[in-house]
């Protein structure tokens, strides 16, 4: 078919940010998908709770210590995470480098209390259905943290190479920070389910 030029796009930027970036939307797509997964796991928890004559089944409610420490770390991490979003938008390489190191540390930090959370549940996954769903919730969220930390570490390494100073990388940093918010956000209902519902 013959072509007729009607539009000149030569002045457009060579990479879009945020709503103009496909990866930004892709990140939202994956959040929707994983969010549905978490919602279903919570639904299973509530379903089993509604069936059980008493809850928790055959155990004391989990000890609050490690889970609460983890929650505090996660909530605090939102602040530097907000900064790094802002610096990435301003394309300030120096600050983003500092920020991504901080975020790497704040990503690793919660893994330590998490290791103590499993014993603090006070029940094994194979004791009964209550134990099974608790371990599944924690396991799933741990996978969530670990994959995001791995991603953050790789990105941190990348920011210190010659590939770092590139609008595309700043976009990656934004997507990564967005995803971290999601990791924190999904934890809050899980925290309430695991630690507070059995205490009601």
């Amino acid at each position: 078919m013959r072509h007729r030029a009607v539009l000149d796009v030569s002045d457009l930027p060579m990479h879009g940010l945020e709503a103009a970036s496909p990866t930004w939307w892709g990140t939202f797509g994956f959040m929707l998908l994983e969010g549905t997964g978490f919602a279903l796991v919570i639904a299973i928890y509530l379903y089993l709770l509604s069936l059980a004559p008493q809850w928790p089944i055959g155990a004391q409610p989990p000890r609050l210590g490690p889970g609460t420490i983890l929650t505090v770390i996660l909530v605090i991490s939102i602040v530097p995470n907000y900064w790094i979003l802002k610096w990435a938008r301003e394309r300030d390489l120096r600050k983003v480098r500092v920020g991504i190191v901080v975020m790497s540390l704040l990503g690793i930090a919660p893994i330590i209390p998490r290791a103590f959370e499993f014993p603090a549940l006070g029940i094994s996954w194979d004791s009964n259905a209550y134990g099974s769903i608790l371990w599944t919730m924690l396991g799933l969220h741990t996978t969530h943290i670990v994959t995001d930390v791995a991603d953050t570490l790789v990105l941190a390494a990348l920011m210190f190479t010659r590939h770092g100073d590139n609008p595309r990388r700043f976009g990656d940093v934004q997507d990564n920070a967005l995803y971290w918010n999601f990791v924190v956000l999904t934890w809050l209902p899980l925290y309430i389910c695991i630690y507070w519902l059995p205490r009601l």
Binding site: V6, L7, S10, P22, G29, E34, Y47, W125
Partner: protein, 637 residues
């Protein structure tokens, strides 16, 4: 010209058409050889592979269906034993749903959506390559297991406790559950790609009200996948945990619950039917428009009907569980929404009929398939409304009435439009036409064979024949009808064989297809058949819903893109105004290697839970290599 001779900022603006075509061909090409084949990220090559693979699974599943029909042709037949029969119907059902129907619909989306919205590749092309390999691995797993007499034998919905640790000995149920993980992973990846492609890569000017209906249908389907498939992944994962590490999700003795499985399964399973059916609706709309030679009647109602179906689909899951005894109000609610879904379906049928009525319909093979579809689907829909009512469902539950009903919906509602779509888009994909005369025979044989095979099953169900029985006694008096059904299945099989014959033969000796053999209005027909590796040498600009009808002689295009990197346009969601010239990734072997690593991990985890830990290491390595920038012009911005 190699990339190094070109000024980094060179644009396509001044280039002659021929020089531009050569330049883009070398930029977007898939190299020859095995490495090229494993590394390609071209959505057309991957889409083609998906389609061919899915049709091979259709063929294999059809062979199992014939085995079932041979076994049931006579009372007390000994062709298949009870255990083999269980494996055969389970693998037939699981294969048809998870390896054929859903993937084939997504496959058409992978191939067509980027062309129909006028872009050069799908969003996240490497993820797309990954998804195909994962899908293939899942399919091989299921069939290899069947060949080794390890095939799942628990029915395609794998109800616990039958599939649980207590009754499901061996690895059969684990194979089923892991096959689910593979196929859902790939389906979810493709769904996200399609959503982003439709949101962000539409040709400039293709505002929401100008999106082709097939693209709308794939968009709604993708959202259904994103919202529904996590349920089956959660279900299959918890099942595997119960079986392998001793959790108690489905064990009532320890606070678990067997109905939980049914809720999770049908929360996915009902939308699944619409995941298969909505793309078919989109295909029908495309075919009807082209062959009625007029714009579709009721574009807006059709789009709204897609959304309404998508939303109602989630209100329906409980109707598969009426007989398990749920609260009365609940049952009424779900009966109401099961019946409500007939409304958008009715609207669609009326819009298509009105379009044909008011147009100048040309009854070529694709349109004949649409006619076969409409008739069959109306019958299937009617029996559907019947089983949506609790008293009736109680009567026919788990009988051949249900088998008849869902084959009417699946074959009549999805396979007929799909075959119409094959006849319709084949020239674009292969570059040659299929045979019109054979095509008419295929439609006739399939339509007659199908109705003769499946209509009597309604009656078999009403006179009490349960599904999933490997044989029956002569005193039941089901023998005559069963023999009739089995003989009719031969007609159906001949129709399918003729179809495959035509498809294969035409690839070699079909008439050469021009750019737009049917005089169709949408963008995929504005490029050569088959399209060049970059799809469009210049990205189209759209000013109406039917670009090729509105401007039949010249395609409006954009200029000013770079020619030293793979580049396409990103546009805004609602009015598709250009926002950026974005790069599109080059070929890479890493998605293939990541898929191998994932396969090793998933299969090993059936045998040892620790595989999840050590198996993650190679996956992480391949993913890092996949994403690490290689300093190509695509990475510049």
């Amino acid at each position: 010209m190699s990339t190094s001779d070109i000024a980094p900022d060179a644009r396509d603006t001044a280039l002659q058409e021929k020089a531009l075509a050569e330049r883009l061909a070398s930029l977007w090409a898939t190299p020859r050889g095995i490495l090229g084949a494993l590394s390609t990220v071209d959505h057309k090559i991957i889409g083609r592979r998906y389609i061919v693979t899915a049709f091979i699974f259709l063929l294999l599943g059809g062979v199992l269906a014939l085995a079932i029909r041979i076994q049931l042709a006579r009372p007390e037949n000994r062709f298949l034993g009870a255990d083999i029969y269980n494996q055969v119907f389970t693998v037939h059902g699981s294969n048809m749903m998870f390896l054929f129907a859903v993937p084939v619909m997504e496959a058409f989306g992978v191939y067509l959506v980027p062309l129909m919205v006028g872009t050069r590749n799908i969003a996240f092309p490497r993820l797309n390559a990954f998804s195909y390999w994962i899908y293939l691995a899942g399919g091989i797993t299921l069939w290899a297991a069947l060949a080794l007499d390890m095939g799942p034998d628990i029915g395609w919905f794998a109800y616990v406790p039958l599939s649980g640790p207590q009754f499901g000995a061996g690895k059969r149920a684990d194979i089923w559950a892991q096959m689910i993980t593979f196929t859902e992973l790939s389906a979810l990846a493709v769904a996200v790609e399609i959503v982003v492609t439709v949101f962000k890569q539409r040709a400039p000017g293709m505002s929401l009200d100008r999106i082709p209906l097939f693209v709308w249908s794939m968009l709604v389907t993708s959202f259904l996948i994103i919202m529904a498939m996590p349920a089956i992944m959660v279900a299959s994962t918890t099942l595997i945990l119960d079986r392998l590490v001793g959790t108690h999700f489905y064990n009532p003795a320890e606070g678990g619950d067997v109905l939980l499985w049914q809720h999770l399964f049908w929360f996915f399973g009902h939308p699944e039917v619409y995941i298969i059916f909505l793309p078919a609706v989109g295909m029908v709309s495309s075919i009807v428009t082209t062959f009625a030679r007029r714009p579709i009647v009721g574009y807006l109602p059709l789009v709204l009907a897609l959304f309404a179906t998508g939303i109602l689909a989630f209100g329906l899951w409980v109707h598969h569980m009426f007989v398990v005894g749920l609260p009365r109000v609940g049952e009424s609610f779900f009966t109401a929404s099961s019946m409500a879904i007939a409304v958008p379906n009715g609207i669609q049928i009326f819009c298509w009929l009105a379009t044909l009525w008011d147009g100048r319909p040309q009854f070529r093979t694709p349109l004949l398939f649409v006619v076969a579809f409409i008739i069959t689907f109306v019958i299937g829909g009617l029996t559907g409304v019947m089983v949506a009512s609790v008293p009736l469902d109680t009567q026919v539950h788990d009988t051949y009435f249900v088998v008849a009903h869902f084959h009417y919906v699946l074959i009549g509602g999805a396979v007929f439009p799909l075959l119409g779509a094959v006849y319709y888009w084949y020239p674009k994909i292969v570059g040659r036409m299929m045979n019109e005369r054979l095509g008419r025979w295929v439609v006739a044989l399939l339509f007659v064979g199908f109705n003769l095979t499946f209509f009597p099953m309604h009656i078999l169900g009403l006179i009490g024949m349960p599904r999933r029985v490997y044989t029956y006694g002569p005193e039941m008096h089901w023998g005559g009808l069963n023999l009739f059904v089995s003989l009719s299945a031969v007609i159906l099989a001949v129709g399918f064989v003729l179809f495959f014959y035509d498809a294969i033969r035409s690839a070699f000796s079909g008439e050469i297809a021009p750019e737009n053999p049917w005089g169709a209005p949408t963008l995929e027909w504005a490029t050569s058949s088959p399209p060049p590796s970059c799809n469009f040498e210049r990205i189209p600009v759209v000013s109406g819903s039917y670009p090729l009808w509105e401007e039949p002689h010249a395609l409006s295009v954009a200029t000013g893109l770079r020619i030293n990197r793979r580049e396409l346009l990103v546009t805004s969601i609602s009015d598709a105004s250009p926002q950026a010239r974005e790069s599109s990734p080059r070929n890479s072997i890493w998605p293939f290697l990541a898929a191998i690593a994932s396969t090793v991990m998933l299969l090993s985890s059936i045998f040892s839970p620790w595989a999840v830990v050590w198996g993650s290491v190679p996956i992480a390595v391949t993913l890092i290599m996949w994403f690490w920038p290689k300093g190509t012009p695509e990475d510049i911005s």
